[in-house]
């Protein structure tokens, strides 16, 4: 009875068409078109305040879009309130009901649907099993640890058999060990259940580790959508290049562009790398190269940087070495120690990489 819409929208395809959200004059979400496939683990990654929660609340029906529409399972959700959508939201603060036991929390959605107590109990214990909380059903919420609360929230959302599970930075309150454990756990639960997960995070490691596809957001706009690998290795915008992982940025102007490769002329010399997008000569641009791509110089390297070591951070399995370039800018290289006799502060060091490791991208004005 309450979710006649949910019953017909079994498939978890989420389509956003020309979606825009404004709070008064403030545009929290720029025009967005996106299709998320059924059964996909899809992440939105972006800094705090970029509109991730807004987007999630629009999908779940708590925020109505200023323009455009949300379709779930092919059905326009315009007329459906949050209680009528085949989605379940896991809140940033979990929002568990403190006056109910763990089992009552998990069973709440079923109770709302008028499921008889006996059937409810069966489902609840099955879910307790899925989230490894068997035997905790009678506990009060306050008696649980952070990770356990997390899993109760997941079980409570799964109880209503949503086609789409929406998760708003669910792991941000946990400590590092638990976060890594819960990452694997979430991914495993998603594989087992097979429904669409839409996951929001500002933590790039989380998004890359768990997702089938990632959308990187900045200031209310989706900058790039793709697999974690393509987001990391082939960023398309300066924002993505600098937000996802680390990147050294060397500014200059385009000297040559042949469609796939570009050469940029900078204060440190000319560098050639893969071209991101369409470039034209003399355009302001930057050369991006990841610290881990820079290794001690070998004759086979196509690109070379030389500078004075100003900082060494020992990180156990690798070290991070900061070089000062002739123009005063800093360049960071990683995994240098394992190859050389331990470098010393003040020494000169040459590092190099190949063309394929660098990306040349247009930048506008003050943009990084």
């Amino acid at each position: 009875m309450p979710d006649n819409i949910g019953a017909t929208a079994k498939s978890g395809v989420v389509e956003l068409s020309d979606l825009e959200v404004r709070y008064g004059d403030f545009q929290a979400l720029q025009r967005t078109n996106l299709k998320i496939e059924s059964g996909e683990f899809f992440s939105f990654l972006g800094p705090s305040g970029c509109g991730k929660t807004t987007l999630l609340r629009t999908i779940s029906g708590f925020q109505s879009p200023t323009l455009g529409q949300v379709k779930i399972g092919g059905i326009d959700m315009r007329a459906a309130g949050p209680n009528m959508r085949p989605t379940a939201l896991i809140f940033q603060n979990l929002a568990l009901f403190p006056l109910m036991t763990v089992a009552e929390n998990i069973g709440y959605g079923l109770r709302v649907r008028g499921v008889p107590r006996r059937d409810r109990d069966v489902t609840v214990s099955r879910l307790l099993d899925i989230v490894s909380l068997l035997g905790h059903g009678a506990k009060k919420i306050q008696e649980l640890s952070g990770g356990q609360k997390q899993r109760v929230a997941i079980a409570r959302a799964l109880a209503v058999e949503p086609s789409v599970l929406l998760l708003d930075e669910p792991l941000s309150a946990l400590d590092l060990k638990l976060r890594q454990y819960m990452r694997a756990e979430l991914r495993a639960i998603q594989r087992r259940i097979g429904i669409t997960f839409i996951y929001i995070t500002h933590d790039q490691a989380e998004a890359l580790a768990m997702s089938d596809r990632v959308a990187v957001m900045n200031a209310g706009r989706i900058e790039q959508v793709g697999s974690p690998r393509s987001i990391y290795s082939a960023p398309e915008t300066p924002f993505v290049a600098s937000f996802v992982g680390e990147n050294n940025i060397i500014r200059g102007r385009i000297k040559r562009f042949d469609g796939t490769e570009a050469t940029i002329s900078t204060a440190l010399g000319d560098f050639t790398g893969r071209a991101a997008g369409n470039l034209h000569c003399d355009q302001p641009a930057a050369y991006f190269v990841r610290p881990e791509a820079l290794t001690p110089y070998q004759p086979s390297h196509e690109t070379c940087f030389a500078g004075e070591i100003v900082e060494i951070l020992y990180e156990g399995n690798s070290s991070q070495v900061t070089l000062r370039m002739p123009d005063g800018e800093k360049l960071i290289a990683r995994s240098v120690t394992s190859m050389t006799a331990s470098p010393m502060l003040g020494e000169r060091l040459r590092v190099g990489c190949n063309r394929a490791d660098g990306i040349v991208m247009a930048i506008e004005g003050s943009h990084p």
């Binding site: 309450p2 209680n83 929002a95 709302v112």
Partner: protein, 338 residues
């Protein structure tokens, strides 16, 4: 004599309590006593002594002693001042007997007039409390959970404004509004909905109106206070799990606000039972509220002990009633004072 003793006790006790607490404070200052600063250390000596005197004066002068005097008086016969303390001034239950059975000379077996007024007062107060809760809950919920700050400020001013006017004046205004020639009746007549003026006062609409009006502020703000701390995401989580609004209110919001609801209802019930202006001005000719009955014992019948007994009966029975209700709701007294 009795009164002068009581008076001197009244005045002395705060100082006595101060002295005792001071001694306690000094004692606790001993090394390796309780960790953290004590009451006196935290507040400084001047403020501490003032607090102790003020609080104990408040408790003893306004609550304990008047009530003790009242209870004491209720167990004495009604005597002219000369005979007070004399041989006829004995302990008696006569005043309580009178409430149940009426004067010894009366023919009826029960004091139906006063018992009826008592029962009617309790029933009507329960009804008004329930009505008030129904009226105020949506307002309080809106204020606590959905109103934007600007709208909230405006609403609070609108709610408080009428209470700048004295209660008696407010009650008379309601009477004017609802009288045969009042605005409400004139409007009803003009629209042709009724042929003759509706007797709002006679059938107690006015009384309920006036009592609800008197208690609205208490109820709204107590509920508001309880609902304000409810995390909005609790409501959204319930909605997201498919709950219709009534379910959210019944099983998420109200259980959370239960102590506040109980507190608001108890306050409303007590002030309703104890109100005097509204029943005097707005009560229909056939309505006998219990507070005017008490008032009449004191000033019409000039029987202070009887009045005292009636006041004690009302106070004790209402307190028991409220405590029982809390017990049934599974609440402790401490919880409602959040």
């Amino acid at each position: 004599m009795r009164s002068s003793l009581a008076l001197s006790l009244c005045l002395l006790l705060p100082f006595l309590v101060t002295a005792i607490l001071l001694a306690g404070g000094l004692f606790r200052r001993q090394p390796n006593a309780s960790p953290g600063p004590g009451f006196f250390r935290r507040n400084g000596p001047a403020v501490s002594i003032y607090l102790v005197i003020a609080v104990s004066a408040w408790v003893f002068l306004t609550i304990v002693f008047p009530q003790i005097a009242m209870i004491d008086l209720s167990f004495h016969p009604n005597l002219p001042p000369k005979k007070i303390g004399g041989p006829e001034d004995v302990f008696t239950l006569e005043n309580y007997r009178y409430f149940v059975f009426g004067p010894v000379s009366s023919t009826g077996s029960l004091n139906t007039l006063h018992l009826g007024a008592y029962a009617a007062t309790i029933t009507a107060s329960v009804a008004v409390t329930a009505l008030n809760f129904i009226l105020c809950y949506p307002i309080a919920f809106y204020m606590a959970q959905s109103a934007l700050p600007r709208a909230l400020r405006r609403l609070i001013i609108l709610l408080i404004l009428p209470y700048w006017i004295n209660e008696v004046l407010r009650v008379f205004a309601v009477r004017l509004l609802l009288s045969d020639a009042g605005i409400v009746n004139r409007m009803l007549l003009a629209t042709g909905l009724v042929g003759t003026p509706v007797d709002f006062i006679g059938n107690n609409v006015g009384l309920y109106w006036g009592l609800s009006y008197t208690c609205i502020l208490t109820m709204v703000f107590t509920l508001y206070n309880a609902l304000e701390s409810l995390d909005k995401s609790q409501i959204e989580a319930a909605r997201d799990l498919g709950a219709p609004w009534w379910h959210v209110h019944m099983f998420i919001v109200m259980p959370y606000a239960k102590p506040g609801i109980a507190s608001g209802c108890a306050l409303t019930f007590m002030s309703c039972v104890g109100s005097i202006a509204a029943p005097l001005v707005l009560g229909g000719p056939r309505t006998l509220w219990f507070t005017p009955v008490i008032y009449d014992r004191f000033y019409q019948a000039l029987n202070w002990p009887l009045g005292a007994a009636y006041a004690v009966i009302l106070l004790v029975s209402c307190t028991v009633f409220v405590l029982l209700s809390l017990r049934i709701l599974g609440l402790k007294l401490g919880q409602i004072a959040r």
